[in-house]
């Protein structure tokens, strides 16, 4: 079958209508003649012989080839055609953004629970495989025709787990960015995805984006307005983050006042997903084991969830204006260029992150750690061989 697939390439798929234009290519609906499944084919644009296969596409391919889970989009096939790379995904009817926007859909507590469970399951699988998604938002949570929610769009995802590697903090749409990212952390972990999932949870409850900052600083202001300004005891590492700025202290309002309709269990889980200290934040697996998912009402079965008629319908409510209650930046941070940053200054974040490289790479040199001096002298080798031969001997001794 492998040979067949490679032989056929483009001929395996019958191209249909265009589904939309992505950041790096057009997406078409197509029929997979081998399986009779409807699929979505993403044609990756290639810059005219400049830098080959786009790194975003490469990232998506690399990670999706390692992930297989009912709650993660399936990469069915990849093939080159006329010098363009084509990624074949399972076809997804809708996405969570369209569901949230659709005023005709009433989201019951059981529905919200179902969506969150599917989202966290996909995330738990990613994290188990040491993959950070880094771009969770309702628009990237795709929904299949049988109602399954699946994590899609792995163009920003990366493998984590090597503590010395520095990452870029320019990930996620701003409203879903965790406080450690907003403070410029470059050594973050799976907590960043959990924060974003918390924002999505809140958005499902509120039917509007929860924390709609207009700049990075304003985003932090919105976060602290909702949860109170973190104290050092709550988040000891905070003050040593690269872009740390001190905010005026604001006490936390009762979480209940922000989500009047939510159950106690929902609020408890929500508060754990929004723990300031990433080390204290709940993990995807722990969240799935939270009592919220085992108490009534049970999550709605995926195929019973209502789906929006069309993606285009419904409009997002206009973003809220910065409210005067937001905490204000008290002290300018260490670097003077940030003095100019105030809540609501549009584009301020561009100033302060402009030097960050796009892919977050910070190339070190060959043979970085212990040294690059290769191998041993010839004398060592023959000596070594003798020792090895002797060694068989010492193994035998053990069994005496």
């Amino acid at each position: 079958m492998l040979e067949l697939k490679n032989g056929i390439g483009a001929k395996r798929y019958v191209k249909g209508i265009s589904l939309g234009e992505g950041t790096y290519g057009v997406v078409f609906k197509a029929l997979d003649t081998q399986t009779n499944r409807t699929v979505a084919v993403k044609k990756i644009r290639l810059g005219k012989y400049k830098e080959g296969v786009h790194v975003t596409a490469l990232r998506e391919i690399k990670l999706l080839k390692e992930l297989r889970d009912p709650n993660i989009i399936e990469l069915i096939d990849v093939y080159p055609h006329k010098r363009n790379l084509h990624l074949v995904f399972e076809f997804m009817e809708s996405d969570l953004e369209a569901v949230i926007r659709d005023r005709n859909i009433l989201l019951s507590p059981a529905d919200v629970k179902s969506y969150m469970q599917m989202c966290l399951r996909g995330l738990a699988h990613c994290h188990k495989k040491w993959v950070l998604h880094r771009d969770l938002k309702p628009n990237n949570l795709l929904i299949s025709s049988d109602g399954q929610l699946k994590l899609g769009d792995f163009g920003l995802a990366r493998i984590f787990g090597s503590p010395d590697r520095k990452f870029t903090h320019q990930v996620f749409a701003r409203w879903y960015r965790s406080p450690e990212l907003l403070f410029g952390s470059k050594q973050y972990g799976s907590g960043v995805d959990i924060w974003a999932a918390g924002c999505i949870f809140a958005e499902l409850l509120l039917r509007r984006p929860f924390l709609q900052g207009s700049s990075d600083i304003d985003q932090l202001g919105k976060i602290f307005q909702a949860f109170g300004t973190p104290r050092e005891t709550q988040w000891p590492d905070m003050t040593s983050l690269p872009d740390y700025v001190e905010f005026q202290f604001t006490p936390a309002p009762a979480l209940r006042s922000l989500f009047p309709m939510a159950t106690e269990d929902a609020l408890d889980l929500l508060s754990k997903m929004f723990a300031f200290d990433p080390k204290a934040r709940i993990t995807a697996q722990q969240a799935l084991e939270h009592r919220y998912f085992s108490t009534d009402p049970a999550p709605t079965k995926a195929h019973l969830l209502l789906r929006p008629a069309s993606k285009a319908e419904g409009m997002r409510p206009p973003p809220e204006l910065a409210s005067p209650k937001e905490p204000v930046v008290l002290s300018p941070p260490a670097k003077a260029r940030r003095i100019s940053l105030f809540p609501g200054v549009a584009g301020a974040e561009h100033i302060h992150h402009s030097k960050e490289s796009k892919d977050g790479s910070s190339a070190a040199t060959v043979g970085e750690t212990p040294s690059d001096h290769s191998g041993m002298a010839i004398t060592d080798r023959s000596y070594l061989k003798r020792k090895l031969d002797m060694d068989v001997h010492f193994e035998d001794e053990r069994h005496v």
């Binding site: 492998l2 490679n6 012989y49 830098e51 080959g52 296969v53 790194v55 490469l58 391919i61 690399k62 990670l63 080839k65 390692e66 990849v78 093939y79 080159p80 010098r83 790379l85 188990k128 495989k129 040491w130 990366r158 493998i159 787990g161 090597s162 892919d359 977050g360 790479s361 190339a363 070190a364 040199t365 060959v366 043979g367 970085e368 750690t369 212990p370 040294s371 690059d372 001096h373 290769s374 191998g375 041993m376 060592d380 080798r381 000596y383 070594l384 061989k385 020792k387 090895l388 060694d391 068989v392 010492f394 193994e395 053990r398």
Partner: protein, 252 residues
């Protein structure tokens, strides 16, 4: 060893020696022997390393590039895909996959700096980009490779042998002169490198190996392959590669 290796595509795609060392019919027709193939792989592994040193990329990128190179030729013949183009393209692809992109035009520049033209290192950006697509296909789009470096550090710490890190690290580097990365879990290779270091330094850590309950026959087997490399294939083969590549360019 990070829990993720066991569920990775790398783990599922580990190969046996016999699957790796077959000489394809195309190559055999051109008179390539198993020994020639071995020399080509060693020569180009060190070529990738040289190129990478110019480009100043991390060790990890070099290791991934060499693993790609070796993996590609378990499925393609040298006659079909010219190693002189495949090697730099593997480095190019690995640099992107490991998030430390090196521009193709820079690679071409470095190739010109170190390459000997008479051996046919005359490729251009366009060739690299074309080959990139072919390599992706040959690799079946599996790009994640695990390496012994991280388990090495953890294992040495666990064994209380962190002072041996330098020697072990360079033995790991040298292990890429073999196909071991396609055949064994990285932590086994790391263990074999620790084993070699222990023998050289006369450090008795039999107990630790015993406690780790690894199959010592496999570890010793890996160690022997590394020795074979040190004993017989350490020298770059600058003298022999020309003749071997010439065979490739001649139809039988």
């Amino acid at each position: 060893m990070a829990a993720n290796f066991w569920t990775s595509s790398h783990c599922k795609r580990l190969l046996e020696q016999e699957e790796i060392s077959v000489v394809s019919n195309d190559d055999r027709d051109r008179g390539l022997t198993q020994e020639d193939v071995k020399i080509i792989k060693i020569y180009f592994s060190s070529y990738i390393k040289k190129l990478a040193q110019r480009a100043k990329v991390r060790q990890r990128v070099v290791a991934t590039a060499i693993a790609y190179f070796r993996r590609v030729y378990t499925r393609k013949s040298f006659s079909e895909y010219d190693p002189r183009l495949v090697a730099p393209t593997c480095l190019y692809l690995a640099s992107k996959a490991e998030e430390s992109t090196v521009q193709a035009k820079l690679l071409i520049f470095y190739m010109k700096q170190i390459g000997s033209d008479e051996n046919g290192f005359r490729y251009d950006i366009k060739d690299i980009l074309e080959m990139e697509m072919k390599l992706l296909e040959a690799l079946d789009y599996y790009l994640v490779i695990y390496h012994p470096y991280r388990p090495l550090v953890q294992l040495l710490r666990d064994a209380g042998l962190s002072d041996m890190i330098e020697m072990c690290w360079s033995i790991v580097n040298d292990s890429y002169g073999t196909d071991l990365i396609l055949m064994h879990p990285p932590y086994m290779i790391a263990l074999a490198c620790i084993y070699i270091s222990c023998v050289i330094n006369e450090r008795d850590n039999r107990l630790w190996f015993e406690e780790s309950r690894v199959d010592m026959t496999v570890i010793k087997n890996i160690a022997m392959q590394i020795f074979d490399f040190y004993d017989n294939y350490r020298l770059g083969f600058e003298d022999r590669i020309g003749a071997i590549l010439l065979k490739l360019s001649q139809k039988s």
